[in-house]
């Protein structure tokens, strides 16, 4: 039987904007403690300055904690005419483009990147991928983050 994936395809072209989010020293230090990160460049302002940064540096996946602050649209997913709700976090990708340091103000811009179905022994799963680009106060892209969610048919 042919399968049909239906969703709001206009969301591929719609940017969802959020921010600015101020990156604080205490946020970076708390994030670092959460992942037991001890590299002084992430925790100690003096060590970061000694390496040429104006403040402590955020670990490379730091932006992931800000993605959920972007309000995303419902894609109104239907598979073979049946609405599919819920969803589990299936995967995450972070591409680091430039350092993020304490004192930066980041803005986020998210759009629907991909929607695709996979059928296996346990049935059909539909993957929804959102991509968020983070820029700092200078307009420099600092990271691209992709989040994948899976829904079962």
């Amino acid at each position: 039987m042919a399968t049909e994936l239906d969703y709001d395809r206009s969301l591929h072209d719609k940017e969802h904007e959020a921010g600015p989010f101020e990156v604080t020293e205490s946020q970076i230090q708390a994030f670092s403690r959460g992942i037991a990160e001890t590299n002084p460049i992430y925790t100690d302002p003096a060590a970061a300055k000694a390496q040429g940064f104006k403040a402590i540096v955020a670990p490379p996946t730091f932006c992931t904690i800000m993605v959920h602050q972007v309000s995303l649209s419902d894609i109104n997913l239907k598979f073979n005419g049946v609405p599919m709700g819920g969803g589990m976090h299936a995967g995450q990708r972070v591409q680091s483009r430039a350092p993020i340091v304490a004192g930066d103000a980041l803005t986020a811009s998210s759009h629907l990147k991909d929607v695709y179905a996979k059928t296996g022994r346990s049935g059909t799963m539909v993957f929804i991928v959102w991509e968020t680009t983070f820029r700092n106060q200078h307009g420099t892209v600092v990271a691209d983050v992709q989040e994948s969610y899976v829904r079962r048919g």
Binding site: G34, P60, G91, Q92, S96, Q146
Partner: protein, 140 residues
């Protein structure tokens, strides 16, 4: 920190032996502004979500896995980390994070090392897997 010229296909990176404690997960959830209680911090809510106990957030597992690579290659070396969350990661269980080099190449003036990366449990559970790219310096 390794030099690009010293890295070969098949080289092993790590392992990093770690675990996620309740306190670390709680602190992570606070900075994430997902304070809960939720399935990451609360036994009853985890069981409502059909889990045996509270789990580690996926993005926290990602942070732990990034640590393996920044410990190895330096704080700014990680360019790309692409992960699939295969199984829920429990609190207070031994976690082993390791990577294997699968490609080395020079691209746009950078020395890139690509690897497969995996977080496993003591019973062989394959919790999180994926690919990573780090940039390394050349020998002086």
């Amino acid at each position: 920190m390794p030099y690009f010229e010293d890295v070969e296909l098949g080289d092993e990176i790590g392992p990093l032996e770690t675990e996620a404690t309740d306190d670390e997960v709680l602190e992570f959830c606070h900075v994430w502004e997902n304070r809960g209680p939720n399935r990451f911090t609360d036994q009853a809510l985890a069981q409502e979500a059909r889990l045996s106990g509270p789990i580690v957030p996926g993005i926290m597992s990602m942070g732990l896995m990034a640590r393996l690579l920044t410990d190895w290659a330096g704080a700014e070396a990680l360019k790309d980390l692409d992960l699939v969350f295969r199984q829920p990661v429990p609190h207070h269980k031994p976690l082993t994070i390791a990577a294997t080099v699968t490609d080395t190449r020079q691209e746009d003036g950078e020395n890139l090392v690509e690897c497969d990366i995996l977080m496993t449990g003591a019973e062989g559970e394959r919790y999180v897997g994926g690919k990573a790219i780090v940039a390394l310096p050349s020998k002086p």
